[in-house]
Symmetry: D2
């Protein structure tokens, strides 16, 4: 028997081999999400915990997970008011961010300084992102904390507004306190996806009050233990940020401008202003490769990692078309569609509560 375990090359490919000695798999998965005109699309997660609040992993793990999962940016957002491990720990409310910083710099991950202000409803749980010092956010008076965060330049996010532990009917609501924040310009985004949940009403709220729609993992355990056992899931919830460039400052600018969409499993949600170009930049329609007297045959290719399900197709064409990530589908349609667009709705691109994206497929000329 050979000394070395006889492993297939495939097996070796899964192991870290760089001399950076990564504690996790040493490679970054490419997430194919297209840019949109004028902006690059960054994959971000703005809500993550570590042992420094009630999480169960060391801060550096969050960086290595983000790298492996193909993200551009994360925020570590430990609870200010809830730290069950504090008898065993030293440091202050900025420590988890400080520990993660060097790892982030080594891995080209943009690390955003954050904290979760954790109160009963209302206001519930609120993330302050892009802060300078979380130690300034521990006043018992909630409004003082938000004011301090805003002074530091923070983007304020309302977390999991339909979480049943705080909102028993599961329906997200804006309480007077939230509306007061909005009136002051102190609330900037709301989570639509959190952990395994989603809150359909959030998209309309964001539209009405001009807020950014957000999607984050809120993980307390290892990401692999939280999501990857479910093989059908491509990604944890992420916020797609349409930014001018790949930098923390540019993400901050995009968030304040509301240029986001959210992605979890097979669902995209966001205003059609952003999700329509995302769809059109994901899809490529080929010239007809066959035709007869009545019909043309052509292919639609999905270049992205988001599967699309087209429904309510027009007469003389498929009623439904499912195009998985990185896949094509052959379409047979009546000859007139060589000239006319085919109107569909994209079932898994949600643009409002009960609304989905309308899209047109145009077959290119020979």
């Amino acid at each position: 028997m050979d000394r070395a375990m006889k492993l297939k090359i495939t097996y070796l490919l899964l192991l870290a081999v760089s001399f950076l000695s990564l504690p996790l798999a040493g490679q970054k998965k490419t997430l194919n999400i297209p840019d949109i005109p004028g902006y690059i699309t960054l994959k971000c997660d703005f809500h993550i915990h570590t042992v420094f609040s009630d999480g169960r992993v060391w801060p550096t793990i969050r960086v290595y997970e983000a790298y492996r999962d193909g993200l551009d940016a994360i925020a570590i957002t430990d609870h200010i008011e809830y730290q069950p491990h504090k008898d065993y720990l030293q440091g202050d409310l900025n420590t988890s961010w400080e520990i993660a910083k060097k790892a982030a710099s080594d891995m080209n991950i943009l690390l955003i300084h954050g904290a979760e202000i954790t109160r009963k409803m209302p206001p519930g749980h609120i993330n302050a992102l892009f802060i300078q010092d979380a130690e300034e956010l521990k006043d018992p008076d909630f409004m003082k904390d938000i004011e301090a965060a805003v002074k530091q330049g923070a983007f304020i996010q309302y977390n999991h507004p339909g979480w049943k532990s705080q909102e028993p009917d599961g329906i997200p609501k804006l309480y007077p306190l939230h509306k007061e924040l909005i009136a002051k310009g102190w609330l900037h985004g709301i989570e639509y996806f959190n952990h395994f949940e989603y809150y359909p009403e959030v998209l309309d709220m964001c539209m009405e009050y001009n807020l950014a729609v957000m999607g984050n993992c809120d993980a307390h355990d290892a990401i692999s233990d939280t999501y990857n056992g479910m093989a059908i899931i491509k990604s944890r919830p992420v916020t797609l940020v349409f930014a001018k460039e790949r930098s923390i400052e540019s993400i901050r600018e995009a968030l304040f401008a509301g240029r986001t969409a959210v992605w979890y499993e097979d669902q995209i949600a966001g205003f059609s202003e952003y999700t329509a170009p995302l769809f059109y930049n994901s899809i490529e329609t080929g010239k007809p490769f066959k035709s007869d007297e009545k019909n043309i045959w052509f292919e639609i290719t999905n270049k992205s990692d988001i599967p699309f399900q087209l429904i309510n197709g027009p007469d003389g064409a498929p009623k439904q078309l499912t195009i998985p990530a990185a896949a094509s589908v052959v379409v047979k349609a009546q000859k007139r569609y060589a000239d006319e667009p085919l109107g569909y709705e994209v079932k898994n691109i949600i643009t409002g509560n009960g609304k989905i994206l309308k899209a047109e497929i145009r077959v290119p000329k020979e």
Copy 2:
């Protein structure tokens, strides 16, 4: 829309939904293999059986499998001399190709007419590809069959030359009969990959005699039953053909010109003339994202579906780098590599018996 996550969409994505009523999954997987300068890269399988010889699936299945697997072209190559099901079948040696033709035309699969001339060693098993009529290839005199095929314009391929049932030591050899074929210009390619096997010596033979290196599945059962149970395998063996355009005639031209490489699992084999540009078009090296007094940090991204394993790296840089398909890796290297190329060998690109591709990684300037 239900408040609860609609998981069913994921499930539907796996089902055929087009009104073409496909018997198999109705979508085509994209295989990301880059083109090379001057040519497009077509994914082809030139050796497949059906119930019309000793296979166990109907000819149309071969087309739907090719579509699902992301191939551009296949040849159906039933045995001329071995047809164990013939008491139950009607038709002639062209029937399997004829049955598959309409399905191929509907699915944009290029279907090549072929047949396998099946003799004891030597010559062993020989595929005639791009034929007109297999009925002309059933003379007991082998040389007459080859002559007839060549007259039809056929490309002649020597199949699985190291198959132990015919070559007990497993080492492929060119017998006098094969050399006679070569001398007459009647042998044009040899299989390097067949089914689950490979024959390292074939690459040097092809180099010496100016033949095309070929890789094919030789499947008799469903492709899913043959390969997909092994989840670690991305693809059945395929021949990558560097063609001027996507057409049967263009594939034929490329094969006669020897412009091929072969791919199976994590291995690519082919002359460096073709595999070097394939590698360079797969890889993208980013500008340094970090540097200190001694080192730079940068990323190498693999845009293809072929994982690469770089070995024998230079001093002051990682000795090994593994870059899975659709993934990136962070590299930390000495500062001088901002200016000098990093020399590696690509362990899984085989360019000759015992030889692998040498490649240089160049870090772009700011």
Copy 3:
């Protein structure tokens, strides 16, 4: 580089190694489904097609698939009235069964002779199982065919009664013709599961008319292409037959006696007479491993390959308990449950339309 591909032993485990030279993976998966008191539980599929009707695989494949999938028995049931490949085939309506017979005898698979009588609705599609000669079943008069089948000793099964191609509202119904069959004793079972579908009303119909509930795959392509791409699915639909012994005659006796349940994905359906003992023989409850003043802690183990989801638990105990196949779950419950049974409902064991199994968990004494 070694001549032999360096494959892990795991990889080799997936390949056929017996000298029977199986065309498919050469091992049989064990399906852990418990026996019930007085009977052994056989896993059967009574509805499968081959190239000899509108299927696309050779008959022997159906045997090898059944072996690999861990089944005990299958029926090959090609259509009598629909044979799109017949111009290319020779033989009669018994040929597919005859071809499969030797393979079945080699693999210890019980092969049942069957045929599908294929008419418009009503009666729709009807399987005759345990027949002697399908050639006697091709009279245009449907009733004559059923009579001939019954004379041969056949078990008559009504297939996919809610299939939308024949029953546009998707709701299965018994037409006067079906009731006439029942009155004559000429209808013996109805499919509850077929392919990817299920028909909730069938269980009550079977109860009312004393028929066997049936679940079958109705596959036309390879089973791997039909089901296995969906990794979450453990099995194609199967009929669990509670038989006196492992023989064709014993399966026939059990079917006529209505001793069946059906299994697909995570769902079991059947009369509680059979599904209750199936559940109790699958589950093992351990003694408390911990207790304090208020609670006991104990484990429930699921020894079967069917996951169970217990719901509507009693006060002072978990409301829900999910016990995957071959797994255990820790339960913390109030101390009184050391003496009293815990009442649950088993969400995924369906005993009637809208009804699920009630079950009691009893914690054994120290």
Copy 4:
């Protein structure tokens, strides 16, 4: 209940549902490893790290992982001399064990108190298991630490003896210091499997010096991140302990008596005294189900989760037989094997350096 298949149940099955609110998946996988005559077989991992040394997960995670992975017992063995996070932590060398204790008691996991004495070679890294107080093991004098551990009743394990960071040629050796420990009765076991490595020479060393063979994960990150990405791996390395009962004291007794074997991937290693009954209790051979003049056909079933690869079979029977976990294989053999045993070797049960288990298959009489 919806007419459409409720796929969501499958999804829910993956989530924790008990009111214990587990942070990880709430169910325990059953590992089917048979008991052997006189002993029960416990699955144990005696080498694991947490944030309290150089690990990156909280101690409770180690308990939940062990539960999910189907283990009976674990030891948390943080380094005494290497604690890179200590500036951020409070507590002493027993703290990680204390934190994990309540979780272990809730989950029925046997939690063994341990520590890793971490020195340069020799002696290298040494685990003290079943200790009372790790604070007594921090004397700079190595021998004093071992003496203190032994006084506490510890089992002393030599860790990863061929780890290249300490043993550049990768070959494990017993240095004079190790032999001194053995002479004093202060060394009781050596790791054969550690993390992803194995050390073939260890089995013979254990045989010569009457030590227990050990196999452990030595994980620093989440187990899912360390092993589960490699889907082909059933388990982290574990030590199978043949114990009189399921208790910490009984494990300790078995370790001192050397009653262990080790399991990782598809490999079992251990003295044939234990691995032979493990094999025979895993395997069940059926009566012949078919025979003709020359041959019998019968099935061999593997009831365990360890795949077996039988090689060097006798004349007139398969040379090789591969029986995956929870699977059967059909065997065709000459008629005389109805009476004579079939002699095989079990390729993946290693009984010494270069030695594998010899085993006999006996076909039962009708």
